[in-house]
């Protein structure tokens, strides 16, 4: 077998994605147990509840979890679409936690929404950490109406880092060319971010839906600034993951699907499109996310 092509074992793992092909399902089922374990995925970018502008086939938690489990996702970091526009984020985060517990089948980990423009947001952060025992939070600056140079944002990062919460920052949710005319949320400008990150060595920051707008030097500067990670849901171009890994270490790249707004298979197939080494594949599929989440587990044991 030529270098760069899939080994049979790795192929079988990846291929459980191809819900399309009957032959494949048989092969996956008969794959040895160790092959299935090696192919486990952590999806750091899923969302529960209803996308405000469209009914999605997997917007019910049960369906989404079945899709994830069917593709070997052992853990999925779940925010909620309600966090984009609802103002009662206390209610939103409580429901998210409850839904992950009730219908998550051990796969879903809640990431609560915090809006630092709302009064008493610090209490929200406290609840996410202490009451809901979330591994992290998810931020949507472009839906919540603040720029990253806002002092409240810096304070939020600082408090989250102190609580050892993973911070997920979504740069955009959908292509700005096709947004609803009354809901045009332009991608977040990340220019102030590298400076902030440098001042907070304990911050762990995961950029979601970032790789369409954040590229080249601004991306590299941000990665170099601290514990900054990106996921691949909006990564495009031929052999996209391979190209990314020529610039960014594989230890900083996570698997994210942006399901159910995106077809889950998109990110999954990206791992197939680029020839990746075993180590790169392991890091992206689960190892990096597990390392990140381990810091959270240490926090809960304290």
């Amino acid at each position: 077998m030529r270098p760069g092509l899939f080994t049979r074992r790795r192929f079988l793992g990846l291929a459980s994605a191809a819900s399309g092909a009957a032959v494949l399902r048989c092969e996956t089922v008969s794959a040895p147990r160790h092959a299935r374990t090696a192919s486990a995925l952590v999806d750091v970018n899923v969302s529960l509840s209803q996308w405000p502008l469209r009914r999605l086939a997997l917007s019910n938690t049960t369906g989404l979890v079945a899709k994830l489990r069917g593709n070997n996702v052992i853990s999925a970091w779940a925010g909620t679409f309600d966090g984009l526009l609802h103002k009662d984020l206390a209610g939103v985060n409580a429901r998210l936690t409850h839904e992950c517990q009730r219908n998550g089948r051990g796969v879903l980990r809640p990431f609560g929404s915090i809006n630092p423009m709302l009064p008493d947001w610090e209490e929200e952060l406290r609840r996410c950490a202490d009451e809901h025992r979330m591994p992290g939070i998810r931020l949507h600056p472009n839906y919540h109406g603040y720029s990253l140079s806002d002092p409240n944002f810096a304070r939020l990062l600082k408090l989250a880092a102190e609580r050892r919460l993973i911070v997920q920052l979504a740069l955009v949710m959908e292509d700005e060319r096709m947004m609803h005319p009354l809901l045009q949320a332009r991608p977040v400008d990340t220019a102030p971010l590298a400076g902030l990150v440098k001042q907070m060595p304990s911050l762990r920051l995961v950029l979601l839906n970032a790789l369409r707008t954040l590229r080249a030097k601004p991306l590299l500067d941000l990665i170099a600034a601290g514990n900054v990670f990106v996921e691949i849901s909006m990564l495009e171009g031929i052999g996209g993951v391979g190209n990314l890994l020529q610039q960014v270490p594989s230890t900083r790249v996570l698997f994210g699907s942006h399901a159910p707004l995106f077809y889950f298979e998109s990110s999954l197939f990206k791992l197939r499109e680029s020839p990746l080494s075993d180590e790169q594949m392991r890091n992206i599929r689960a190892a990096n996310a597990r390392t990140l989440a381990a810091a959270f587990q240490r926090r809960t044991m304290l």
Partner: protein
């Protein structure tokens, strides 16, 4: 390897990709870029690539630039005639030159389709002679469309423009590029036009696109394409594999529809499919 992957993963469907480019792909020559494209295509068992436009794009190409672009596609075609189908790139602002290119590349050459991009909106009468001639030659016509809330380019067509064109040319086989980008509006715009097909390529892999296209147009009017190298095979194939539609519908979208649409011209040219 391609065959084996085909057998394992995509074995029930022969995949044809409606929408491929030589730009955004590594390599210094059309041949090198095509080889690279095929290397990735083989990882998903994509059998045939429809290729159009050159290694560097122009919004409003001069007659010379059109010729250069088409020559590059002809080189790619010559390099791998077993894997490539070519569409000739035309500009309605240069009608004479476009008709000449159409004759050179389709009537007298191996190409099987026409590509129109963003030089001129497609509802204008300048397109009529091009569409008429292409239809005589049994070539399919791919028209880029997009409906951008952020604003279209001056010559960029909307799906509504294409619907107007289609009404004037009921015998033409027209393809609505990107399903209009904002596909929830774009698909509606082309819904009444039975001779217009939806290209799934080039937008985000937003869940629901393929299901809506099948629901509103019927499975026979929906065609898979990637818009590679700007996009990935992965995200674009996912639109079909991830869709909640029957297997046989996926097979139509991934290859059978395009094959059927091209059959008359392939037959004329003696191209075996």
């Amino acid at each position: 390897m391609a065959t084996r992957l085909n057998h394992w993963l995509w074995n029930e469907m022969e995949i044809w990709d409606l929408h491929c480019h030589l730009s955004g792909v590594p390599g210094n020559t059309p041949e090198a870029r095509l080889d690279k494209l095929l290397e990735y295509a083989d990882r998903f068992g994509v059998a045939r690539l429809c290729v159009y436009m050159g290694m560097e794009w122009a919004y409003d190409p001069s007659p010379e630039k059109l010729r250069d672009d088409n020559d590059q596609v002809l080189r790619a075609l010559k390099h791998r005639p077993d894997r490539v189908l070519g569409f000739v790139y035309l500009n309605p602002k240069h009608i004479e030159a476009s008709l000449h290119e159409l004759d050179r590349c389709v009537r007298d050459g191996p190409m099987v389709g026409v590509k129109l991009w963003v030089a001129q909106r497609c509802n204008t009468p300048e397109l009529d002679p091009i569409i008429a001639r292409a239809t005589e030659l049994k070539a399919v016509i791919f028209q880029h469309t997009w409906l951008k809330i952020t604003g279209n380019l001056p010559g960029e067509s909307t799906p509504m423009d294409l619907a107007e064109l289609a009404a004037r040319h009921p015998k033409a086989a027209l393809i609505c590029g990107h399903s209009g980008g904002d596909w929830e509006r774009g698909l509606r715009a082309i819904r009444p036009c039975q001779n217009v097909y939806a290209d799934l390529a080039g937008g985000d892999p937003t869940a629901g696109l393929t299901e809506m296209a099948v629901r509103e147009l019927g499975a026979e009017r929906v065609i898979y394409g990637s818009d590679i190298g700007g996009r990935s095979f992965a995200s674009q194939l996912a639109k079909v594999y991830g869709a909640e539609i029957p297997q046989k519908t996926k097979a139509l979208i991934l290859g059978a529809n395009l094959k059927r649409l091209l059959q008359p011209i392939l037959k004329d040219k003696g191209i075996k499919a």
